[in-house]
Symmetry: C2
């Protein structure tokens, strides 16, 4: 019937994340009773139980888990609407491009040089896996991402460049002397386990490797001889003197792509996409000409 309000979604997300009405209310800056009432009303309106209350907190039901995921994307979309509208009203707005720190540095440099003077571009750096979120919630207009490692669902893209991967090893490690490696050799080095990244919900998968959250943590761990990693050959801007890169011959190739929210039609974005496509003409995947999710936005 009547639509949900974003306030209700924000409240539910807070409770679902804290699993505790008191703390959630605290975080929201309101008192606990109105929060309890709001969630109860929400459950009543949806006709679905979202939380199992308990003397020591609350637990999500299946429906609650669905709403948590859906509410997050809905709130992102609302926030994106506000941000993009504010930016559209600012005539001096630069295009905001988000990329992983250090990834595809040379390519980005060439792209920025090519549009310098015509299209102002602001570069926003983020940690691994955050680009999609920044794009979805309107903090950025366009992103440099990588297939198949990043989640490109929901974006239009053009392919920019495809390349092999290298293993980054501590210089002191025996494997560092090799001039090439295979995935099998890399994946079961007993005293050099692969690091673990957080999942979307912030928890870590099980495994022997160290838990990392940022690229600089990882760089340091490699330098300390505690882990290794396999990354695209061009993503080496943050390489330390203690690091050695060895090509991994059978690792899947990584394609660098320029990604943007579907439907974006600003002339600046269209110009950037056109320039990027032009820069990489030779490398582009022929599929991109026929695939509808890979067309440039019209002006």
């Amino acid at each position: 019937m009547d639509d949900l309000e974003t306030r209700e979604l924000r409240y539910f997300v807070a409770v679902a994340e804290e699993l505790h009405f008191g703390r959630a209310a605290d975080r929201l800056g309101i008192a606990q009773p109105p929060l309890s009432r709001a969630i109860r009303q929400l459950e009543h309106r949806l006709g679905v139980q979202l939380l199992d209350r308990d003397r020591r907190g609350a637990a999500l039901t299946d429906a609650g888990r669905v709403l948590l995921r859906e509410a997050r994307t809905a709130l992102d979309a609302v926030a994106a609407a506000a941000r993009r509208t504010r930016r559209a009203g600012d005539p001096t707005r630069p295009l905001v491009l988000v990329t992983k720190a250090g990834a595809s540095h040379e390519l980005l440099q060439r792209l920025l040089d090519a549009v310098a003077g015509t299209t102002p571009v602001e570069v926003l750096l983020c940690e691994v896996g955050e680009q999609a979120h920044r794009l979805r919630d309107g903090q950025a207009d366009v992103a440099i991402m990588h297939r198949p490692v990043d989640d490109l669902a929901g974006f239009d893209t053009v392919d920019l460049h495809t390349e092999g991967q290298v293993a980054i090893l501590p210089a002191a490690h025996p494997l560092a002397a090799r001039d090439q490696l295979t995935l099998a050799e890399v994946s079961d080095v007993p005293n050099l386990p692969i690091a673990r990244w957080p999942r979307l919900d912030g928890t870590y998968p099980d495994g022997p490797g160290p838990e990392v959250r940022t690229q600089s943590q990882l760089a340091q761990l490699v330098a300390l001889g505690r882990t290794l990693l396999v990354i695209p050959a061009s993503s080496r801007a943050w390489q330390w003197p203690e690091h050695v890169a060895v090509p991994v011959v059978d690792a899947p190739h990584i394609t660098t792509v320029l990604a943007w929210p579907p439907g974006s039609r600003s002339p600046a974005l269209a110009a950037l996409v056109r320039t990027a496509a032009g820069l990489c003409e030779g490398y582009r995947n022929a599929e991109s000409a026929t695939h509808p999710t890979q067309e440039a936005p019209s002006t």
Copy 2:
């Protein structure tokens, strides 16, 4: 700062679509003054002018056009959150599959047969181009769509089948006697112009062909000898006795895909996707194994 409420977005969308405060207020079931005030507050909060007021109505500014697009997707996301949550709380829920009427009928039949008894599936038929919207706003869980004609941006997909296209002609037309045609021959038959479909905003592109909105309108127009169309070979369930299908040898191949919102993890959906992929093993594009937007949802 403070987030927008969906009420504000609904109000703005109404005004932006009507371009008239009075009619918009009417449609929303409120009076005009509160609506004017709400829009003014919205503009003030965003720090952006959204509408140019005028004695004879209102006109969208650039920022207003951005907000209209963003607000629609945000409202879709909120509506989807409500719908999907309600459905998640209903233990008897069938999976809702949406498809264009008549398209890929045999494939769908095989798919439904294959999951009959294990996964209840409700089939929702819609007109051309509506599937993406139904999927985005939560009315459906999964869709049968076609690449490259449908907009697949924002969905995970598996390829099911690829096939050539045929021209559907009035049986009385001279070209109907041919056993094959080319795109060039089809596209400039002077007295048989291709029909025009509405754009997303409901307006029609210019051109000589008749305006159509549904497949049955189109079927009738072809039977009347007023237009022709080019469609995948399998989409002929609605063919009339007055229609003749002739292969178009150089038309781009159409791939039938199963598409669903990224992140959906219901066991029923996963089972359907697995079954579909199994059914079409031989036809599947090898790329689907490595492309992240084409992986089956995990259970």
